[in-house]
C-alpha cells in the first residue's frame, strides 16, 4: 500500500475519474460545512478575536503623532493589513483540528476503508473548507476596517489581497495538516497552535514596522511568512498599486511586491511537498 495519494488511479467504479473525485470531495467538504453551521463558535471566535485586536490596538495608538510610521500612514491603516492576515493565519492554523479529531476517534478509518478515487480528496476537502472560512473571516475584518475608517483597497488591490490571503492560507493549511498527521493527539496540536499563534504575529510586521524593532526581531520578522503576506496587503491599501516597487525593507535587502508574492508561492509549494511523504504514509 505504497501508492501516492496524489496519483490518479486507473480503476473505475460507478462514476469514473474526475466526477468520482468531485463527488467524494464535495461530500467531505459538505460534512465540514454542516459541522460549521451547527457549531458556529469557531467561525464567530475567528472573527471576534481579530475584531477586538483591530478596535483595541487601533484605539491604543489613535493619539500617536502624525508621521510616526513610515510613509506617514495612520496606525489604523497600518494595523488593518496585519489583522486581516492574522485572521486568515489563525483560521488556517486550525485546519488540522478536524482531521486530528477524525484520526483520534476513528472517523478517518471509516474514510480509509472506502474506495476513494484518491485519498487526496480528504486533503482537498480540508483545504476548500479552511480557505472558504479564512477568506470569509478576513472579508468580515476588511469590512469592519472600512467602517472604522481604515480604508478599502481598489479593485486591483482587492484582487491582490485575495490572492495573497489564498497563498498564505494554503501554506498554513499544509503546515496544520502535516502537524495533524504527525502529532499523537489533539492536545499536542492545540498546544502547538496556542504557542505558535501570538509569537508569529508579534515577530512579523503586523503590529509594527521593522524599523521599530531591535535587530534580532527585525531579522525574525523579515523571514516570517506572515510578513510576506502583510506587506503586499498593506501596499494594496496604500493607493495605486505597483508590485515592482519595494514594499519591504528587510535587514538582508529590499523586497518588491513581486518578491513577496513569489516567496509566498515558494513557501506554499514547499510546505505541500514537505508534507507529501507524511500524507502518503498515513493515507496511502
Amino acid at each position: 500500500m505504497s501508492s501516492s495519494i496524489w496519483v490518479k488511479p486507473s480503476n473505475s467504479f460507478e462514476r469514473e475519474g474526475f466526477s468520482a473525485l468531485r463527488q467524494e470531495t464535495l461530500a467531505l467538504t459538505k460534512r465540514l460545512f454542516i459541522q460549521l453551521i451547527r457549531r458556529p463558535s469557531t467561525l464567530i471566535a475567528g472573527i471576534l478575536q481579530p475584531l477586538i485586536w483591530l478596535v483595541l490596538f487601533g484605539a491604543l495608538f489613535s493619539n500617536a503623532p502624525d508621521g510616526f510610521l513610515p510613509g506617514g500612514m495612520s496606525y489604523g491603516h497600518f494595523l488593518g493589513a496585519g489583522v486581516i492576515v492574522f485572521t486568515a493565519f489563525s483560521g488556517a492554523l486550525n485546519a488540522g483540528l478536524p482531521v486530528m479529531f477524525d484520526r483520534e476517534f476513528g472517523f478517518l478509518n471509516r474514510l480509509l476503508v472506502a474506495p476513494l478515487t484518491s485519498r487526496s480528496s480528504i486533503v482537498f476537502a480540508s483545504v476548500i473548507y479552511i480557505t472558504s472560512i479564512s477568506l470569509l473571516q478576513s472579508i468580515a475584518i476588511m469590512v469592519t476596517a472600512f467602517f472604522l475608517g481604515y480604508g478599502w483597497p481598489g479593485p486591483s488591490g482587492l484582487l491582490l489581497v485575495l490572492v495573497t490571503l489564498l497563498l498564505l492560507v494554503f501554506a498554513v493549511t499544509a503546515l496544520s495538516l502535516g502537524l495533524a498527521f504527525a502529532l499523537p493527539g489533539h492536545i499536542e496540536l492545540i498546544a502547538i497552535i496556542f504557542v505558535a499563534n501570538l509569537p508569529l504575529l508579534f515577530a512579523s510586521t503586523a503590529l509594527a514596522p521593522i524599523s521599530f524593532m531591535p535587530s534580532w526581531l527585525g531579522w525574525l520578522a523579515s523571514i516570517n511568512p506572515l510578513t510576506f503576506a502583510i506587506e503586499p496587503i498593506r501596499a494594496a491599501y496604500g493607493g495605486p498599486l505597483d508590485l515592482g516597487l519595494v514594499i519591504l525593507h528587510a535587514p538582508y535587502g529590499d523586497v518588491t511586491g513581486y518578491g513577496c508574492l513569489c516567496t509566498l508561492i515558494g513557501i506554499s509549494l514547499g510546505l505541500f511537498f514537505l508534507i507529501s511523504p507524511l500524507l502518503n504514509r498515513k493515507l496511502a
Binding site: 468520482a20 463527488q23 461530500a27 460534512r31 476513528g106 471509516r110 480509509l112 476503508v113 499523537p184
Partner: protein, 337 residues
C-alpha cells in the same frame, strides 16, 4: 470457492507480535466466525483484510484481489463494521448515510433509494434524522451496519458487532446477519462470545496469540473433541487439597478420560468422560470414599471445551488474563492512522 484467503500473515507492533503466521480461508457465501479473546489478533486480521493495515509478511486476498496490490478494488467489495463505532456526532444519521453513499460513488438516486431501504429494514425511521451524538449504542450499531451495507458489498466484515448491546439489539443483529447470509452475502465476524459463533457461524476459527489453532464448523469441532463433560463439586466451596484427593480418586474410574481441578471456579472438578453411563460409577466411588456430591452437571462438549482443548484454558480465563494487561491507550494509538 474461497472469497477470502489469508496466508501466513505476520504483523508486529514494535516488540509485540499481533499476528504470527495466521492462515485461513473463508468460503464464498458462508458466515465465518473468528473466536478469540481480546488481544488474540482478530482485529488486526480484519484491519489487514480491509486495507487499513499492511502485514509485515504474508498474503491476503479478497475475491482473488491482493489487498496490497489493488486495495481500492478490495475496498469496493467489503463493508466494514468496526469494533468502535466511529460516527460524526454533529451529522444526522441520514446525512452520515448520504456521505457514505457518496464515498462509495453511488449515484444520488441509487444512494437515496438504498438508504430508504436500509432505514426500513433496520427500523431506523424514528431517529434517523436526529444527530448521531444523541444515539444509543444499539442505534449507533444499526447505523454502522447500514453504512457497511449501503453499497451492497459481497463481503461484510464485522468486528465484535454485539459488544455492549442489550439482548434485544443483539437478537435483531443476529437475525439480520442470518438474512444477509441467506441472500448471498459472505460474512466474516469476529467475536469473543461463544454463543454468537454457535448461533451464527457455518465455519469458525479459534485464534490465539496471532494464529489459527482450530478450524472447522462449530458442530464438527465439538464432535471431533468427543467425550462428555462433567462438572462436579463435593461441597459448595472446596479447598485445593480436597479437590486434589477427589481428582486422584476419580481419574481411576473406568470411563473417565481426564480430571482437572478448576481453580478459577472454586476448585470444582472438570471431567471428560466416555458417556453418561459413567455417572453412576462416579457417584458410587465418591460414596465409598465418604465424599458427598454437592453438585454435578453433565453436558455434551461445548465450544468452550473446544477452546480449552486447543489453548489450555477457557475463554473466560483467557479474557480475564488479557483484561488485566490491556492497554487501551496503546490500542487507540494502534487504531490511529
Amino acid at each position: 470457492m474461497y472469497l477470502i484467503e489469508l496466508e501466513e500473515l505476520v504483523k508486529a507492533y514494535g516488540a509485540v507480535k499481533a499476528l504470527n503466521g495466521l492462515t485461513l480461508k473463508v468460503p464464498n457465501g458462508s458466515l465465518y466466525g473468528l473466536l478469540g479473546p481480546n488481544g488474540s489478533g482478530k482485529t488486526t486480521t480484519l484491519r489487514i483484510l480491509c486495507t487499513l493495515l499492511a502485514p509485515d509478511s504474508g498474503h491476503a486476498s479478497v475475491a482473488g484481489i491482493n489487498v496490497l496490490e489493488d486495495p481500492r478494488s478490495v475496498r469496493s467489495e467489503i463493508g466494514y463494521v468496526a469494533q468502535e463505532v466511529a460516527i460524526d456526532k454533529i451529522l444526522t444519521g441520514l446525512e452520515l448515510l448520504q456521505l457514505q453513499g457518496d464515498l462509495y460513488h453511488l449515484n444520488p438516486r441509487e444512494r437515496d433509494s438504498r438508504i430508504a431501504e436500509l432505514i426500513e429494514r433496520l427500523d431506523m425511521k424514528a431517529w434517523i434524522n436526529r444527530r448521531c451524538g444523541s444515539f444509543s449504542g444499539g442505534m449507533r450499531r444499526r447505523l454502522d451496519l447500514a453504512s457497511g451495507l449501503l453499497h451492497k458489498p459481497r463481503l461484510l466484515v464485522l468486528d465484535e458487532p454485539t459488544v455492549g448491546l442489550d439482548i434485544e439489539s443483539r437478537s435483531a443483529i443476529w437475525q439480520l446477519l442470518r438474512e444477509l447470509k441467506s441472500e448471498g452475502t459472505t460474512i466474516l465476524l469476529s467475536t469473543h462470545y461463544l454463543e454468537e459463533v454457535e448461533a451464527l457461524a457455518d465455519q469458525m476459527a479459534i485464534i490465539d496469540a496471532g494464529c489459527v489453532i482450530a478450524e472447522g464448523s462449530p458442530q464438527g469441532l465439538k464432535q471431533e473433541l468427543g467425550g462428555d463433560r462433567v462438572t462436579l463439586r463435593v461441597r459448595e466451596f472446596s479447598d485445593e487439597d480436597e479437590s486434589a484427593k477427589v481428582r486422584d480418586l476419580l481419574v481411576k474410574v473406568e470411563g473417565v478420560r481426564q480430571v482437572v481441578v478448576n481453580r478459577a471456579q472454586g476448585f470444582s472438578l472438570n471431567l471428560v468422560v466416555d458417556g453418561e453411563d459413567v455417572l453412576p460409577r462416579l457417584r458410587e466411588n465418591l460414596k465409598k470414599s465418604n465424599f458427598q456430591v454437592f453438585a454435578l452437571t453433565h453436558s455434551r462438549p461445548s465450544l468452550d471445551d473446544v477452546y480449552l482443548q486447543a489453548t489450555g484454558r477457557t475463554l473466560m480465563d483467557a479474557e480475564l488474563a488479557v483484561s488485566g494487561r490491556r492497554d487501551i491507550k496503546l490500542e487507540t494509538k494502534q487504531a490511529m492512522r
